[in-house]
């Protein structure tokens, strides 16, 4: 589980660029919307990386969520999803 969290944090850092995460530790509670402010193009890039690394479809994962769930979507929730799938 920790391993997945570490890997997801690494992929996010690759997408966002390390400069913008200085001093920000990505934890299970980090939200994509508010904390990371992931832009749409970064979201697509992250989806590609997750797919390549885990074969997990981020778009399909989000397709099941309503707007409040997407707003609250955290790194931990993604990690759990990956752990359950892989």
């Amino acid at each position: 589980m920790d391993e997945v969290l570490q890997q997801v944090a690494k992929l996010i850092t690759e997408v966002v660029g390390p400069d913008f995460l200085l001093g920000v530790e990505i934890t299970r509670d980090t939200t994509f919307s508010d904390d990371l402010g992931l832009e749409s193009i970064e979201f697509v890039a992250l989806a590609d990386k997750l797919n390549a690394h885990y074969g997990v479809d981020l778009v399909a994962f989000l397709a099941d969520m309503d707007i409040d769930e997407i707003m609250a979507m955290s790194v931990g929730r993604l990690v759990d999803h990956i752990t359950a799938r892989v």
């Binding site: 992931l38 970064e42 778009v59 397709a63 309503d66």
Partner: protein, 384 residues
Amino acid sequence: MSRFLFVVPPLTGHVNPTASVGGELLARGHEVAWVGHPGTLKPLLPDNARIFPAIDDLLEADIRAKRERWLALRGMAVLKFFWEEFLIPLGHSMVPGVDAAVRAFQPDVIVADQQALAGPLVARNAGVPWVTSASTSAELVNPLRTMPKVDAWVRDLLHDFADGDIRFSELLVLVYSSAALVGQEFGDEVAFVGPALAHRVERVDFPWEWLVRGEETLGGQGARCVLVSLGTLNGPAGERFLGQALEALAGLDVRVVMVAEPRPAPPNVLMLPSVPQLALMPHLDAVVTHGGHNTVCEALAHGLPLVVAPIRDDQPTVAAQVVQAGAGVRLTYSRARAADIRSALESVLDEPEYAAAAGLVRESFLAAGGAAAAADRLEKVVAG
């Protein structure tokens, strides 16, 4: 002759295309009126334009205050706020004014901006045909298609408001772009008329001598001129991008017109709070923008390549269209550094394929017909 009523929100970008199309209808001898916020409308419309009030200054100030809060949001919270706190309440508050305007003006057709939901609602209740003025092409391709539950939530809000998806008229949807740029075909009711730029009124002053002086004294490379227009700044992220942009521009051999509140700037940058953007276009070599639909299409209508740093709303979709067309470079707004901005700008200025691609989009716009084509389609709606 017929009567056309435009229903618009208090947002410049949404009024501008209707100013052009309305101007064309007036030139053809039709009766034309607008309903919305008079203070926003007056500077953008012809001198004798007939304006009905649906939004008073108090409500407009309230909308602006909301917009400030909205600009601080990120991610999906932007969309939630936009619908729940802005679009639906605005629709409700505009209903009485639009209703009164329809009774007084007796239009043959109501042309409702996509963000003026009161238009279709009042039109339907009054039995007047209504058409859509889509001031951005992004909604057409439904950016929410990959999030069906969010998409359904928007549709539910619209059904609660008006018992239907009133974002799109079944009679006519005017889109101020081209099928080539949007990259998709739609039904016959969707009219790609290209940017509507004729008859537009720009009442903003500009120090034209600054432009002329540069062209005369610098010549060649140094005479190249770039417009940087980033819309309303988005809090800290906006400050950051502006700082990086100024740093990037300082090292470049171009002259820059930047739309921003005055602040310290390098000597090659002329900073103004507002500019007559359309009148400036023929003097420019490239445009840096956050990807507002009007600015992007005005630039492309002049064959200008773009650097687009989209922030929110339809801007990522518009930026993707520009990149797909080969007419510009996309930057990440919240992270782009001075070096990224500089190299993007150098690319679009120095590599002729960007301007060539922008030229192709311009041709598709010219073929689309602009305000005249929009007026033709509107006349056909009256004719049935």
